[in-house]
């Protein structure tokens, strides 16, 4: 068994007086795909935002690719560069074209030559099938196209880990499929992925493990087949019966 690429131990997090995450323990090995599900407000998004320190945790350890995340972490940018993230609201930069959205970080953070960055970006855009939109602005694209561009943008940094924070929740039903397709092909390419989603079909297809969270705690963590076939806790059963 190889060393886990993400290791979370006894992690607690508060927003003011309210404890959002309670005693989280999680290990993710390289190349594994984890799906996190649970009702809204259960802390799923906060959990994965802690993994690239968009949120700070107060107690416990988070170790990502061998570096511990804490206030003392000086080169947090370096860790973030290795952890790609896709957001519910796409968060593309509206003042830049699709191509520039993808090349901005490689050029300025990884110091990649402009030409190389553009080739890489076009390559990634081709994989999500929007290379023909490269010179448009985000506002001119549909939601699904924007989200695929956001995936390409994150991949342009050639990250080791990809985090997805409800990537399809803000999309129209017919656009969900195109985004999920892009994610499935990414998963088949061997990327380490943590996906917060309500798309159980996607979970069944690609996930190695499913985590069920409620009220800031990990209630259940099991292999995908096991999770859907015979969930252990009643809370999970209730959730699955409502969502499936």
């Amino acid at each position: 068994m190889s060393d886990p690429i993400i290791k979370i131990q006894n992690m607690n997090k508060w927003f003011g007086d309210f404890q959002v995450l309670k005693n989280i323990n999680l290990e993710v090995e390289a190349n594994k795909k984890i799906v996190v599900c649970g009702p809204s407000g259960s802390g799923k998004s906060t959990l994965i935002r802690c993994i690239n320190r968009l949120e700070e945790h107060q107690e416990g350890d988070i170790i990502v690719d061998g570096s511990e995340l804490s206030e003392k972490t000086k080169d947090i940018e370096k860790i973030r560069a290795e952890v790609g993230m896709v957001f519910q609201q796409f968060n593309l930069f509206p003042h830049l074209s699709i191509l520039d959205n993808c090349t901005l970080a490689p050029i300025w953070v990884k110091k990649m030559p402009k030409k190389e960055a553009q080739e890489l970006a076009l390559d990634q855009l081709k994989k999500v099938q929007i290379d023909d939109q490269a010179n448009k602005f985000p506002g001119q694209l549909s939601g699904g196209q924007q989200q695929r561009c956001a995936i390409a943008r994150a991949l342009c940094m050639q990250p080791k880990i990809m985090l997805f924070d409800e990537p399809t929740s803000a999309l129209d039903p017919e656009m969900i499929k195109e985004v999920l397709d892009a994610m499935v092909s990414l998963a088949k390419g061997g990327m380490t992925m943590i996906v917060v989603t309500h798309e159980m079909g996607f979970a069944k297809e690609v996930a190695d493990e499913v985590i069920f969270m409620d009220e800031g705690m990990i209630i259940e963590k099991a292999d995908t087949k096991e999770f859907f076939a015979n969930p252990k806790s009643d809370r999970t059963k209730l959730f699955l019966s409502q969502i499936l």
Partner: protein, 423 residues
């Protein structure tokens, strides 16, 4: 019911109604015009106050007859939708039209028909209208202040040079574009300062020294506005970012700075800069009054700029910060490439507002003895040879300021359109 509907058109008779209606409006306009221009009262046969109200009543009936929801006639529909939606708006429309017509003849005759422009002394102004001779004789003073006449070419050359240097950005090669901000924020002001110092102040290269006290008029307005504008923007940006900083020291310094400068009136700042400030300086240290004034206005306006820019920063969604951070960008990269380009685009109207106010605040430097355009005017109107022409002077200054400010606001609209990428 028939009487109420008497003046209401419907779809079938709208053609006749609109012809009669426009005829009535025309009559009312003719009445007012003949009254204002020819001083003939066409309706003198009517009793008392009816004479004055006649055009309004006739016009209102006319507009009332033309009012219909939809007629198919483009001009009529446009008219009904914009100025003739109900009786109240119709009355307002007519009243505004009438006042313009009434005001036209006296202002025309004052400004043009009865005005004088020939000659070169007060005696040439014999008419009852404006005395543009005054503006003509004083024109050079209004433009260049007390600057010696034979050196005016130095000011002109300096301005042409500075403007030409300002356009360098448009012709810069693609691979040098990234240094554009550096050029405009640091290099350009320094070059402009040197050009203005060596050309307008003189003192070297065989040019005679002209002290800043002699500078004045519109050229001084330009010099003060120019330097204040280019310095206050970057300074404001720094304080806007500072106020949002996580570091308490920087944050509170910024807050103190902004609140201090926003809390004091510009006029006291100017007094301080010229009277108090030199007292705190070492004896042998000398700073020109004009430089002190420019620094004072810059610091003052920077506080306003900072708050406008902070408004833009705050209106950006948090997701933009998240996305930039998640791509591994640090504070400066995130702000330079993601946050500021968007925020500054949003604050173009607000910044234009601040800049316009700045240009129009420059006349205040008169209180420390620097006479720019409005200051020269104040000097000129108290000249014993030219007493009594303040009106002409102020109209002249208003027109000049309006042209400058209108050009600036037009430019800001252009910028807005240029950087519009959403939708």
């Amino acid at each position: 019911m028939h009487t109420i509907n008497f003046l209401k058109p419907n779809k079938d008779n709208i053609k006749n109604y609109s012809i009669i209606g426009s005829f009535l409006v025309l009559i009312s306009l003719i009445d007012v015009i003949s009254n204002a221009f020819l001083k003939i009262n066409l309706t003198s046969f009517l009793p008392g106050s009816l004479t004055t109200l006649f055009p309004l009543i006739i016009g209102l009936i006319g507009l009332n007859m033309m009012r219909i929801d939809y007629s198919g006639n483009k001009t009529l529909d446009l008219l009904n939708k914009n100025i003739n939606t109900n009786n109240f708006n119709a009355v307002l429309t007519l009243l505004i039209l009438f006042s313009i017509i009434k005001a036209l003849p006296p202002s025309l005759s004052w400004m043009i028909l009865d005005a004088n422009i020939s000659g070169d002394s007060k005696d040439a102004c014999t008419g009852t209208g404006a005395c543009w001779t005054y503006i003509k004789v004083w024109f050079r003073r209004f433009m260049y202040g007390m600057y010696p006449n034979e050196f005016h070419w130095r000011i002109n050359t300096a301005f042409i040079l500075v403007i030409a240097l300002g356009f360098v950005g448009y012709f810069m090669k693609e691979n040098l574009k990234k240094y554009l901000a550096l050029y405009y924020v640091i290099i350009y002001p320094v070059i402009a300062y040197l050009v203005i110092y060596y050309l307008i102040s003189g003192g070297s290269f065989g040019l005679q020294w002209v002290e800043t006290g002699a500078w004045g008029g519109l050229s001084l307005t330009f010099i003060v506005s120019f330097f204040c504008l280019i310095f206050c923007f970057p300074l404001g940006m720094i304080f806007a970012l500072g106020r949002r900083s996580n570091l308490p020291v920087i944050k509170y310094i910024s807050i103190c700075y902004i609140e201090f400068w926003r809390g004091v009136p510009l006029i006291t700042v100017l007094f301080m800069s010229s009277v108090m400030f030199p007292m705190f300086l070492p004896e042998d240290f000398f700073m020109d009054k004009l430089v002190r004034v420019i620094i004072a206005i810059t610091l003052f306006e920077a506080a306003y700029c900072a708050e406008v820019i902070r408004g833009g920063l705050q209106s950006l969604p948090r997701g933009q910060y998240d996305a930039a951070k998640s791509l591994g960008m640090g504070y400066w990269k995130m702000h330079i490439f993601v946050i500021l380009p968007q925020a500054l685009k949003l604050v173009i109207p607000g910044i234009a507002n601040t800049f316009l106010a700045l240009v129009k605040d420059t006349p205040l430097i008169f209180v420390v003895g620097l006479a720019e355009l409005a200051g020269m005017l104040a000097l000129a109107k108290t000249n014993p040879k030219w007493l009594g022409f303040a009106m002409e002077g102020y109209i002249f200054a208003s027109i000049i300021f309006w042209i400058i400010c209108y050009a600036m606001s037009k430019y800001s609209y252009n910028l807005e359109a240029k950087y519009k990428t959403e939708r």
